[in-house]
Symmetry: C2
Subunit: 110 residues, 2 copies
DNA sequence: ATTTTGTGACGTATATTTGCGTCATAGAAT
DNA sequence: ATTCTATGACGCAAATATACGTCACAAAAT
């Protein structure tokens, strides 16, 4: 692509797409699940659950942190990660809204 | 990446990630919106709504067709696209399920 | 003081996505 | 028969994502 055209779209749509993108990899979904299961959430612990190197896991964590879905708190040497419930709830509303907007009437057949 | 490790994850998670990926671009979200608004849904019509070339739009359509979110019916020269309500509803359930699984208790703070 | 442990930052290689132009095809209109 | 319209298939270039190794750093343990 000569240029990324993402900014030519509606701002809200772009934002929603960004959130979907954050969820578009099984590793990131697994991380969210894991963080929901256990609140003790060191980076190292997360790595042990995933079939990926620490480096890669770290990168996925960054991608979840960027849209604010998770938070990272430095605790001495360690960093504790956890879900950002507020954002997750926003996400839930947003996605639900979009999907019901899309499929208001279920007779959308050709 | 030396290798795509997507297949090392839970099959269900991978499937969910695939669906999220299909929704991870504003153009594709816009297409879904547009198809919900109007059922007359020729490729050409869709192109006029998007700031992208017909070639690119076609590709996005393909990406929506693959997971079955939309259907394409050949009508003479034209192809009519429309939402696949059944799949959209599946999607809605799946996402809702995942999100409530993630955020069962809203006291997930560090 | 040195080692260990847990991290993040940086660079690199490969894979995939995005965007587009061009071509071929098939039906409709002239 | 030729032109026009609508479409899909193919291939290319640039941008991003994915995965990893290596390095540096800071606190804790030895």
């Amino acid at each position: 692509m000569v240029q990324s055209k993402t900014e030519l779209f509606d701002k809200e749509l772009a934002e929603k797409a960004m959130l979907f993108k954050a969820l578009a990899h099984p590793a990131r979904l697994r991380i969210l699940q894991f963080l929901a299961e256990t609140r003790s959430c060191m980076t190292g612990d997360i790595c042990e659950v995933l079939p990926l190197s620490r480096t890669t896991v770290n990168q996925h964590l960054k991608e979840l942190k960027e849209p604010g879905l998770i938070k990272g708190e430095i605790d001495g040497v360690k960093t504790n990660y956890c879900l950002n419930s507020e954002k997750i709830n926003n996400l839930k509303d947003m996605l639900g809204g979009f999907l019901s907007e899309i499929d208001c009437c279920s007779d959308n057949n050709c």
